[in-house]
């Protein structure tokens, strides 16, 4: 890529970087991306063999270990599906490419605006200002305190929402144990939902797995620092080091705000706006990076694909065996072929 004039890559450079469909990480070159995918997403957990694609791993698991691969490992929650065949950058659905690019652009301009806001210089447009653009924003203690207070307020609000039974922005998919309300009509009139026993904790049985981590769309406390990530090091960094991502700032809209003005949006506003978004890809990435698994430990394979009409699907649930009182064995027992011959 040659030596850069500025400490920050320009947006075209960012857009040109190969990136991984499964985890949105980007790489210096395609080779690194492919070896990343083999090691992180297509590696057999039984024998360590690295395959080229998820399909290849699935066949391998089937043939060698007689097991079913149900999802792509280490992938973002809505990218674990096996139905999409990915190799390097090949096979990424067009709308995902668009989403990715938009995100890069948004993050780029947000980061740029943030830098300018920090330096007090007006946004230079695309021509590239000569101001101290390399300078990374350093927050004053007051700013940090204010941001922390806002973050806490948000978390508290989300907790309150969760306590009220509101679904919180845990990125679950339809079949994860995230359903509290049965999609079925009650099996019989007045069939009661099991009331928690007296003194029982709010998490009654019959409910899903409790999330392993506090629910809420905002990043965990540890991840808050991600908002202030230092900029990507200049390309003079040792080539052996895995390329770092540029800082991800986001405003949640998925696109640069119209008439974007660098000075009108504080980081806190951006953060606040972003945290209102429940299922933002950046959010998922951040959770993944913080080692936080979305609360879907038992998400079965069939539900890993992209889906937009989750709610509609839930209504469509069909039980193969629906009798709530008589067991299949009792019905079998009534069949003529099993009738007891009294002697």
């Amino acid at each position: 890529m040659g030596k850069k004039k500025r400490g920050h890559p320009d947006v075209e450079e960012l857009l040109a970087r190969p990136w991984c469909y499964y985890c949105e990480r980007d790489f210096e070159d395609l080779k690194l991306l492919i070896s990343h995918q083999k090691a992180k997403h297509f590696k057999c957990d039984r024998c360590g063999k690295r395959l080229n694609t998820a399909g290849g791993l699935s066949v391998h698991m089937n043939q060698v270990h007689k097991e079913t691969l149900d999802k792509v490992e280490n992938a973002l929650p809505n990218r674990q599906g096996l139905e999409i065949e990915i190799f390097g950058m090949e096979g990424v659905p067009e709308e995902i490419v668009q989403q990715h690019n938009q995100r890069i652009v948004t993050n780029f301009y947000t980061a740029q605006a943030e830098r300018h806001a920090a330096t007090g210089n007006p946004p230079p447009g695309h021509s590239g200002g000569q101001g101290p653009a390399k300078k990374i924003k350093i927050e004053t203690p007051d700013e940090i305190k204010r941001r922390l207070a806002e973050h806490r307020a948000k978390v508290a609000a989300q907790k309150a929402a969760a306590a009220n039974g509101g679904a919180v922005g845990i990125p679950t998919d339809g079949q994860s144990p995230g359903q509290v309300v049965s999609p079925f009509p009650p099996p019989q009139p007045g069939f009661p939902y099991p009331a928690p026993a007296a003194g029982a904790p709010p998490f009654a049985a019959g409910q899903p797995f409790p999330p392993a981590f506090p629910a809420g769309p905002s990043p965990p406390p540890g991840a808050a620092t991600a908002f202030n990530l230092p900029a990507r090091p200049p390309s003079g960094a040792p080539p052996s080091a895995l390329p770092q991502r540029p800082p991800y700032f986001y405003n949640g809209s998925g696109a640069p705000p119209p008439g974007f003005s660098g000075t009108s949006s504080t980081v806190d506003e951006l953060v606040a706006g972003a945290s209102r978004q429940g299922d933002d890809i950046d959010q998922l990435i951040r959770m993944a990076e913080a080692g936080i698994k979305p609360a879907k430990p038992a998400a079965p394979a069939e539900e890993t694909g992209e889906k937009k009409s989750k709610k509609d699907k839930e209504k469509n649930t069909r039980m193969v065996y629906g009798d709530t009182e008589i067991s299949p064995e009792e019905k079998l027992a009534l069949l003529p072929s099993y009738k007891l011959v009294e002697v």
Binding site: R46, C47, N62, V64, H65, K66, E67, T68, G174, Q175, S176, P177, Q179, S182, Y193, P194, A197, G199, A200, P201, F203, A205, G206, Q207, P208, F209, P210, P297, A298, P300, A301, E302, E303, D312, K313, E314, K315, N316, T317, R318, M319, V320, Y321, G322, D323, T324, E325, S327, P328, E329, E330, K331, L332, A333, L335, S337, Y338, L340, V341, V343
Partner: protein, 354 residues
Amino acid sequence: MAPSTQFEVSQPPTDVVGTVVFAPNSNKLLVPSWDKSVYLYEVGDSAEDAKLVNSYEYRAPILDACFGADDNEAFTAGLDREVTRIDLSTGEKTTLSKHSEPVRCVVYSPEHRLLISASWDGTLHIHNLAAPDQSPVTVALPGKPHAMAASPSKLVVAMTARLVHIYDLPSIATALSNSSSEAAAASIQPWQQRESSLKFLTRAVACMPNDAGYATSSIEGRVAVEWFEDTAESQARKYAFKCHRQTAPEEEGGGDIVYPVNALTFHPVYGTFASGGGDGTVALWDAEAKRRMRQYQKFPDSVAALGFSRDGKYLAICVCAGFETGMENYDGKGKTKLFLRELGETEAKGKGAK
């Protein structure tokens, strides 16, 4: 890591199977069937080396079976309402008791030398095998039993109307040894009465080998795990999750197809558990970490029964024609298959809760 292997066992039962159970001290495998026979297989040095060693004919379908004090003693639950003891070496059968309706389950507690049968007549028969002359004690249940399992100290009975009774086995043993049958029957009360954690009909119950709790499954693609200890803390740990579901094709309107979870069994060493469903899959779960560890290659039909060998090395998997609502035309004949999976060393080992 040694690759695990899986083989289909030849000469499977010829009709529906509800139970596969390994012997306490060997790799003998007992499989009762609705074809009115009970089959005994033996696994040799590998899963490939499994063969039928004997089969025992009955006059009625056998719904359940368990081993007794040793590898040659077994008990069966018959559609003919009889609870039978069988000597597997000689084939000699003895009727232990007769219910007024078919017998759904039999469970043997080696710790207390108790054999418990559960019948659709809404009773348990408790046989004190330490005193063979004593007639069994009848305990009335508030509903029809659908599934039953024992841990070292507890007996869990899942019934209609989502009722679950937990009995304390040491207390039962004491009652049986100290009093007459009538007095014992009167004194045997459930240690705990619970409502099922699942909203639909219970299909299977399995107890944790460490005596701490149990898992239940229902016809509605769901499994619940809970603990015996009746403290708020223990009860707060219980959870349930969806499983054994499939996405319906869009042309059929999409949505989820929800299968019954027919089988549950805990790994005797690691305490993880396997579930088998009408979707033809078997999944391994880490009860502590609350995650699915593995899902095995889809089987050709509904998974009806699962059982680990006592050392945890083998998993027996029985598949049958699946049960569906409206079973007037059900025919399971010739569709039963028996598979044996040899597990890799750490295949069923959980990662723990951390």
